[in-house]
Amino acid sequence: MADVTMRVWRGDDKGGTFTEYVMPSVEGEVVLDVIHRIQAGPAPDLACRWNCKAGKCGSCSAEINGLPKLMCMTRMDVLPEGEPVVVAPMRTFPIVRDLVTDVSFNYTMARQVPPLKPREPEADGTYRMQQIDIERGQEFRKCIECFMCQDVCHVIRDHEDNKATYAGPRLFIRFMELESHPLDTDDRRELLRQRMGLGMCNITKCCTEVCPEHIKITDNAIIPLKERVVDASYDPVAWLGRKILKRTKRSALDAALDAPGQYAPTRQERPTHAGADHDHS
């Protein structure tokens, strides 16, 4: 049987290089299967993340022949025959080891999203929502947090310093999910504008193209969010309305100002490994 050449990036935060593994070609495999055979054979310490191996958990994201893909969902037989398969870690995140990157940025930003603030329930203590009113939110909740949308986003892919003030596509759909949630009473528009860097996105739709769940990130989340934020900031009627009418939605920014530190962009996710600043208390 023919062989397949896997060119896999090996290294750590100090640097690395591509290493070639020539493996027997086995019918019916996905890239992750071949990575697993490399681990069970020539490179037992080859680091990669994976969990479900069924496209549901979003752990095994990598750049395969230069494109962000889930390794478990990329069949070997759709890749160009006779050419090496290049497998590299996601570039936007710091390297931990080999194909594993430090994705804690995404978890740090997720901590800054004000959660659902539900309205009062019906008299029986439960809620009524129509299917049609939740379908947009359900689209965003299909997200498996593979972080490939974050990986391809120009704003942070080549601009590390933007990460401090930029939520990225994954969290923009989270914001839009909350904004469109029939039960929500919060208003996160000022937070989005001032702290989450929504304006930095220039809607190139790279995120939408790589989404394995086919979520229309740009069209259904980012563009509507931008419109809402613009409405909130510049619409004179809305501005007047806010001045005159008692507001039913209290903005997240108000809350942030009331509780300094709660939404501070510098908050760190708990370190995922030693070497970061651990709490030795």
Binding site: Q39, V103, R128, K142, H280
Partner: protein
């Protein structure tokens, strides 16, 4: 203490330490945090990746939104019957009583369940449930559940320690658990957690079988750590196998093919093309099962005048038949049988009725189920047995140690109904968090573990890194999986179980000489080597329980004892490991069900 800590392992101190961040662990941590406890959530993977995401069908809760006739008593009865009455009745009762509240609570935290026409949470039918009762979101209910809990945990500012593997629980002088020792996977550095109460929520043990729907994480860490700490384990033989998991291609091995494929006309064939299920109709089901292909085929259109085709016999019957065909040499090249819907239904109809199946196999495996058969076989799916817990508090028999979710035993008896696992996580995750918080509040301070004990755990874990020559953990793991699949799989028999225990002795011996190359930092070879002790322990507990339970009940099927035995139906098999590492097993009577609940089963005999 900076300066003098360079050689001391990193340590963290909390009131409640939750190990595992699937549905049960998250729910437990949320509860403990809400009660004001300093709570740590420790997990082997990234947050939100746990096996809970794989659950598709839904969460069973008798909310009565579709069938107002439904109530907790019916759900309780369904659960007990499904579990062949081996369940802890009080757990099954609490589960049925509290599941609706746990679902509504998720909604307040942001979950978006599919709706009924009048705007309530929609509920779907599932095997074994008398009424449509599964709250769901399409076929990704597990993802919705874990994401909702994850976001709630974040909102409560719970400290999450991701990619951190716990190796052992250590006990203090009073016999209670005081410390969990483990390591960070990214760095390989040792870390320990001291706490006043510990909650195990580590999920399943399925990675000890070759064909499994479980992820790499399901290595039975919590089952083994509890057993090593001296906790009682119950009914470890009760493992659920799904009859039709994919065995080929590799890209989809272990992925389950829903019963709906057979319900919609799919049939099982052997390598000779024969619809072999007609050869395996047991007398007990003969009256209600078609005995010709013609009658079976007519049933799909006319349920009244025809009997069901034998492909729709209960799971254990189907699995047993597949097993027999493969053992008789009539299996596929990859050790399964063919599940054929392509020759039975039009391509258009298959795509319409089974859209996600069609897309999943097309995309992942290049298998077009409208034109070719699938290769399927029994696949390890769910662990009913586990750590024995008190129904109200999920406290194990070890003070300070609680367990919830798949790691805990009792709730599902000998067989779990679909939909009852997600609700189990919520109900008992919350109860475990609550009881752990109360236990912690009753304790003055945490007690650090004896450093020599920590050092011993560390030395054992590190040993494979220091050996220049030795066996690869991948080879050992593969041999374990192959052995468990063959000898402790869906159909068991005495001679094979005895052989399995011998093989486990040999594998344990080999495990002492593992060697891994590379360093400590994110080294999957080393990580696997540290998972193997737990896999060997849980495999042994399963094999011992399976040997002792000389009957067939629910997920446990003995070829040499094919029928349920009423005497075994009255007992849990309780196993313990003593401080010397010796295993013991005793049958203990089931908890007595109160008269008013017994009546529920007398109304309608099963």
């Amino acid at each position: 203490m900076p300066g003098d800590t360079s050689h001391e392992p990193e340590s963290h101190d909390y009131d409640v330490v939750v190990i595992g961040a699937g549905g049960a662990g998250l729910r437990a941590a949320i509860e403990a945090r809400e009660l004001g406890q300093r709570t740590a959530l420790v997990c082997k993977s990234l947050l939100g990746k746990a096996h809970t995401v794989m659950a598709e069908g839904g969460a069973a809760a008798a909310m009565g939104n579709v069938w107002p006739e439904d109530n907790w008593k019916v759900h309780f009865r369904d659960t007990m019957r499904g579990g062949k009455m081996l369940n802890n009745w009080r757990m099954a009762q609490l589960h049925a009583l509290e599941a609706p509240d746990r679902i509504y609570e998720l909604e307040r935290w942001g979950a978006l369940f599919d709706r009924t026409k009048d705007g309530r949470i929609l509920q779907r039918d599932f095997g074994g449930h008398r009424y449509a009762r599964l709250a769901h979101v399409g076929d990704r209910t597990g993802l919705e559940l874990i994401r909702t809990l994850q976001q709630r945990a974040i909102a409560l500012d719970i400290d999450v320690f991701m990619e951190c593997k716990i190796l052992r629980l250590l006990k203090g002088p009073d016999g209670s658990v005081t410390t969990a020792v483990g390591y960070w996977r990214p760095s390989g550095e040792i870390v320990s957690f001291t706490g006043k109460a510990f909650v195990l929520a580590t999920g399943s043990i399925g990675k000890s079988w070759l064909y499994t729907s479980n992820s790499w994480e399901s290595t039975g860490d919590g089952h083994a750590m509890a057993a090593w700490a001296g906790a009682d384990m119950i009914d470890m033989e009760c493992v659920q196998f799904h009859p039709t998991g994919m065995v080929w291609p590799l890209s989809v091995r272990g992925i389950l093919v829903t019963e709906g494929v057979r319900g919609d006309g799919g049939v099982l064939r052997n390598s000779e093309g024969r619809r072999f299920m007609f050869d395996y109709i047991p007398p007990m089901f003969a009256a209600e099962t078609a005995d010709t292909e013609e009658e079976g085929d007519r049933w799909y259109e006319d349920h009244i005048n025809n009997r069901r085709p034998p492909e729709l016999l209960p799971r254990d019957e189907v699995a047993r038949s597949i097993n027999s065909e493969v053992k008789a040499g009539r299996g596929t090249p990859h050790g399964g049988v063919y599940l054929d819907i392509a020759t039975r239904r039009s391509a258009e109809e298959i795509r319409r009725r089974l859209p996600s199946m069609y897309h999943q196999f097309m995309e992942l495996a290049g298998v077009d189920i409208t034109s070719q058969p699938m290769e399927v076989g029994p696949t390890c799916h769910y662990m009913m047995g586990g750590v024995r817990v008190d129904a109200e508090t999920e406290q194990t028999t070890v003070p300070g140690l609680f367990a919830a979710g798949e790691v805990a035993g009792g709730m599902h008896g000998a067989n779990r109904l679909g939909g009852n696992s997600l609700s189990d996580l919520l109900v008992f995750g919350r109860r475990a968090g609550l009881a752990a918080a109360e236990f912690a509040q009753g304790r003055d301070a945490t007690i650090g573990a004896d450093p020599t004990e920590i050092a011993a755990v560390v030395a054992e874990a590190e040993a494979p890194l220091g050996r220049d020559s030795g066996e690869s953990p991948y080879d050992l793991h593969h041999d374990l999986q192959q052995m468990m699949q063959e000898l402790v799989g869906i159909i068991r028999t005495e001679s094979e179980l005895i052989r399995a225990l011998d093989e486990l002795d040999a594998l344990s011996e080999r495990a002492r000489k593992l060697s891994v190359s590379g360093g400590r930092a994110y080294n999957p070879g080393w990580n696997l080597a540290t998972d193997i002790p737990a896999m060997l322990t849980t495999s042994r507990l399963v094999a011992k329980g399976a040997l002792e339970r000389r009957e067939s009940r629910g997920g446990h099927t003995r070829e040499d004892y094919p029928l349920p035995d009423p005497e075994f139906g009255k007992v849990n098999l309780v196993q313990r490991i003593d401080v010397e590492g010796c295993y013991s097993l005793e049958p203990e009577p089931l908890l007595e069900m109160p008269a008013e609940l017994k009546e529920l089963f007398e109304e309608e005999p099963h």
